[in-house]
C-alpha cells in the first residue's frame, strides 16, 4: 500500500458516524453603528495610521508631498506613475531595499481593521512584507463589517496568494513587551478615500509595459 492508502485507510477505519454541517452561522451584525468609523478606530488600536483623503488624485498628492523620499518607493498603482517605481519583475530578492510600498487594497474589515489584497495587487508577493514601510489605499465603500462579509465578497475568487493585513509587523515574544517591526513592515499607513474611482486590472501598472522611474 502507498503511504496515501495507509493514511486514508487509517482515517476511514477510525472516523465516527457522519455528523451534519450546521446551518450557516448568521453573525450578529449590530456590532457597529458605522463600519467605516469602527474600521478607523480599530486600525488605530492595532498600530496603523489612518489618513482620510478624497480620491486617487489626493493619494498622488500625498505621495508627492508627504512621503519621505529617501530610498526606493515602489507601487503598481497607475495613479502613482512617475512618482513610484513600478514593481520590478524577476527575483523577489531585488525588493530587499524597498523603503516604501504603496498598494491598493480590495476589502477592509471593520471588526479587525484587516485589509484584503491578492497577488494581483502586489506585483510580487513579498512586497508588502519586505518593504520597510507599507501604505495601503482603500475606499470607504470597500469597508465591510465582519470577516464573513469579506469572505462573501471573496467568494470563489481565484488568486495564487491573498492576505489580510492588519497593522504593522509586530511581536511580543520578549516578556510580552509589544515591539513594532518584527520581520515585516515597520509601519502601516492606510489612505482611506471617501470616493472610489472604478478600479480594474488596467489600472495596475507593472514594469515591462510602462515607463520605469529612474532611481
Amino acid at each position: 500500500m502507498t503511504r496515501r492508502e495507509i493514511f486514508l485507510d487509517n482515517v476511514r477505519k477510525n472516523k465516527p458516524k457522519s455528523l451534519p454541517l450546521p446551518a450557516q452561522f448568521e453573525p450578529d451584525r449590530n456590532l457597529f453603528a458605522d463600519p467605516v468609523e469602527s474600521f478607523v478606530r480599530m486600525a488605530e488600536t492595532v498600530g496603523t495610521k489612518v489618513l482620510r483623503v478624497n480620491n486617487e488624485t489626493a493619494v498622488r498628492d500625498y505621495v508627492e508631498t508627504e512621503l519621505p523620499v529617501k530610498g526606493r518607493v515602489i507601487s503598481p498603482m497607475e495613479v502613482l506613475a512617475g512618482l513610484a517605481e513600478p514593481v520590478p519583475p524577476g527575483l523577489p530578492h531585488m525588493l530587499q531595499d524597498c523603503e516604501y510600498a504603496i498598494l491598493r487594497g480590495r476589502i477592509g474589515v471593520a471588526e479587525n481593521a484587516a485589509i484584503w489584497l491578492t497577488d494581483q495587487d502586489m506585483g510580487q508577493r513579498v512586497l508588502p512584507f519586505i518593504t520597510q514601510h507599507l501604505c495601503l489605499v482603500l475606499a470607504e465603500d470597500e469597508v465591510v463589517a465582519l470577516m464573513p462579509d469579506a469572505y462573501a465578497q471573496i467568494a470563489d475568487d481565484a488568486y495564487g496568494f491573498g492576505t489580510f493585513i492588519a497593522g504593522p509587523s509586530k511581536t511580543a515574544d520578549i516578556e510580552q513587551s509589544l515591539v513594532i517591526g518584527a520581520h515585516g513592515a515597520r509601519s502601516l499607513t492606510i489612505l482611506l478615500m471617501n470616493r472610489n474611482a472604478s478600479r480594474g486590472a488596467d489600472q495596475l501598472m507593472f514594469a515591462g509595459h510602462n515607463n520605469h522611474m529612474s532611481q
Partner: protein, 462 residues
C-alpha cells in the same frame, strides 16, 4: 527528553518552582493575556454562538475527514501544489529531507509549526547535516538556548529579557547587558533578514486548509512565514490532517476566534492564503497523521482534534501558569497537550492528565468548545485501567476505599487521626509525608460530624 532520566510533571514543576519570583511573573503575565482574551471576546455579542458554530463545523469535518482530505488533495493538486501523505513522524521528516535533497538544499528557514516540534524535525535534519533556522522571534530565542518552546503561541514566555540579551550577545553579537526588547528584536530582525534572503527553502506550518479551494492559511504577527515563503525557491508546508475545514465561509468563523482567543487581538497581523506556487516556485504540502487517526477512533478523546492551537487553555490554567510549559515534557504543553500526549505514548505521558485541578477553566475558554477537563478526567481512568498509575497512590486509594466502606473502621481511623493531630502532629506532618510539602492540615475538630448528627437529629425531627 532524549537520554536524560525520566522526570514527571511534578518533578519538573518543582524545578520551575524554585524561583518563586519567576513563577509569580509567569503566572501574572499569562493571566494578563487571558484578560486580554476576555476583553476581546466580550466585545463580540454572539461569541458563544460563534464557539458553538466552530465546534459543530469541526465535528462535521472530522466525521467526514476522508472525503474532505480527498477533496482538498484534488483541488490543491489542480492549483499546482505537491501533496504528500505522512502516516507518522518519521515519514514526515523523510519527506522534508527528500524534497530538500532533490534540490541540493542544506539550509532552510522555518516559521512556527508545532507539528514539526511533535515530529522532532529539527533534530532529524541537523543529525543529517542540514541547518534549520527558526524565524519566529520566540522560537529563534529558544533555538539559540537549545530548548523546546514552552508555549505554543508564546514560545519563550519562560525567559527573562536579561537571559535573552545574554543569548543574543553570544550568538548575534549584541552589546553585553543589552536587555531592551525593542533593540533585541531589531538585532534579530537584521540577522534573520539575511537568512530569509539567502535560504532557498522555507517550511511553514498551517493554521487552516480549505477543502473547496485547495488553499491553506498561515497566520503570523511577525510576517516571518511570508518572508520565508515568498523568497524561497521551495516552500514546504506541514499540517496535521485535522486542520482541514470545508470552505472559505467556515474560515470566516475560525479567523474571528483564533487571535481573540490566543493573544487578545482582533486578528493576527497577517492571515496569508496560499493557493498556488508563485512562478518558478515549488510548493509542497505534507499531510500528517502521526496518531491522529487513533485519537479519531477514541470516542472520549476525538474532540481534542478540534483544537486550533490558540493556547487559551494554557493561559487560563492555574497549573500551567505556575508549573511552566517545560514541565509537560511534550511539544504541546498545558491542558490540551495533556489530552493529546497520552495518545502518542501512554507510558511516557501518563503523568499529564493528573497535572490538573479539573477546575474546567480550559473548557470555558476553548474557542471550539473542547471538553478538555472532562477528557483529562477520562484519561485518568484509562491510565488506571492500563496500569499506568503510581503503586503507592493505588494502595492508598484502595485503603481509603476499604475504610470508607466500613463505618466501624472509619470511626476508629477518624479517632486515631484526631488524636494524632492533637497530641502527636509530627507523626503525620513530617518531611517523610509528601502531602505536607505545600499544605497544612486544619485543626482537629472538637467532635465528629457523626457525633454532632446524633446529638442534633432528635431536635431536627421535633
Amino acid at each position: 527528553m532524549g537520554n536524560t532520566a525520566y522526570k514527571d510533571h511534578a518533578a519538573l514543576s518543582a524545578g520551575f518552582n524554585r524561583d518563586e519570583g519567576r513563577v509569580d511573573w509567569h503566572d501574572q503575565t499569562l493571566w494578563f493575556v487571558r484578560q486580554k482574551r476576555d476583553r476581546l471576546s466580550q466585545g463580540i455579542p454572539d461569541w458563544e454562538d460563534l464557539r458553538e458554530a466552530a465546534s459543530a463545523i469541526k465535528s462535521h469535518t472530522l466525521s467526514n475527514i476522508d472525503t474532505y482530505l480527498e477533496t482538498f488533495e484534488k483541488n490543491a493538486l489542480a492549483n499546482g501544489i505537491h501533496i504528500h501523505w505522512a502516516p507518522d513522524a518519521v515519514s514526515h521528516n523523510q519527506t522534508v529531507l527528500e524534497i530538500l535533497q532533490r534540490h541540493n538544499i542544506s539550509q532552510l528557514v522555518k516559521s512556527k509549526s508545532m507539528l514539526t516540534e511533535e515530529c522532532h524535525l529539527n533534530d532529524f535534519l541537523e543529525q543529517r547535516g542540514l541547518e534549520v533556522t527558526d524565524t519566529d522571534l520566540g522560537e529563534r530565542i529558544v533555538q539559540l538556548a537549545k530548548e523546546p518552546p514552552s508555549h505554543i503561541v508564546l514560545p519563550c514566555i519562560h525567559k527573562k529579557k536579561e537571559e535573552i540579551g545574554e543569548l543574543f550577545h553570544v550568538h548575534l553579537g549584541t552589546p553585553a547587558g543589552l536587555a531592551d526588547p525593542q533593540q533585541l528584536t531589531e538585532a534579530a530582525r537584521q540577522d534573520l533578514r539575511k537568512r530569509f534572503l539567502t535560504r532557498r527553502a522555507a517550511l511553514t506550518g498551517v493554521n487552516f486548509a480549505i477543502a473547496e479551494t485547495g488553499e491553506f492559511v498561515v497566520c503570523t504577527n511577525e510576517g516571518n512565514a511570508d518572508m520565508g515563503a515568498h523568497l524561497a525557491d521551495v516552500h514546504i508546508a506541514s499540517m496535521g490532517f485535522e486542520k482541514v475545514i470545508p470552505g472559505r465561509k467556515e474560515l470566516g468563523i475560525f479567523l474571528r476566534l483564533l487571535a481573540r482567543s490566543a493573544t487578545g487581538q482582533p486578528i493576527t497581523t497577517y492571515s496569508s492564503h496560499f493557493a498556488r506556487p508563485r512562478d518558478g516556485q515549488e510548493l509542497h504540502l505534507i499531510l500528517v497523521d502521526n496518531g491522529r487517526s487513533r485519537q479519531l477512533g477514541r470516542d472520549d478523546f476525538r474532540a481534542s482534534l478540534k483544537c486550533i492551537r490558540c493556547g487559551a487553555c494554557m493561559n487560563t490554567c492555574p497549573v500551567y501558569r505556575r508549573s511552566g510549559g517545560h514541565s509537560y515534557h511534550t511539544a504541546v504543553a498545558g491542558p490540551i497537550g495533556s489530552i493529546l500526549a497520552p495518545n502518542l505514548d501512554m507510558a511516557q505521558f501518563k503523568d499529564l492528565p493528573f497535572a490538573s485541578t479539573l477546575c474546567g477553566s480550559c473548557s470555558n475558554v476553548c474557542p471550539v468548545k473542547i471538553n478538555i477537563h472532562e477528557q483529562l478526567y477520562k484519561w485518568r481512568q484509562v491510565l488506571v485501567r492500563h496500569g499506568h498509575t503510581d503503586t503507592k497512590k493505588t494502595a492508598a486509594m484502595k485503603a481509603m476505599a476499604y475504610t470508607l466502606s466500613r463505618p466501624a473502621l472509619l470511626n476508629f481511623a477518624g479517632k486515631s487521626l484526631r488524636f494524632a493531630l492533637r497530641y502527636a502532629p509530627l507523626a503525620i506532618n513530617n518531611p517523610l509525608n509528601p502531602w505536607y510539602r505545600q499544605r497544612d492540615m486544619p485543626a482537629a475538630p472538637a467532635e465528629t460530624f457523626a457525633a454532632w448528627y446524633h446529638k442534633n437529629r432528635k431536635g431536627a425531627n421535633r
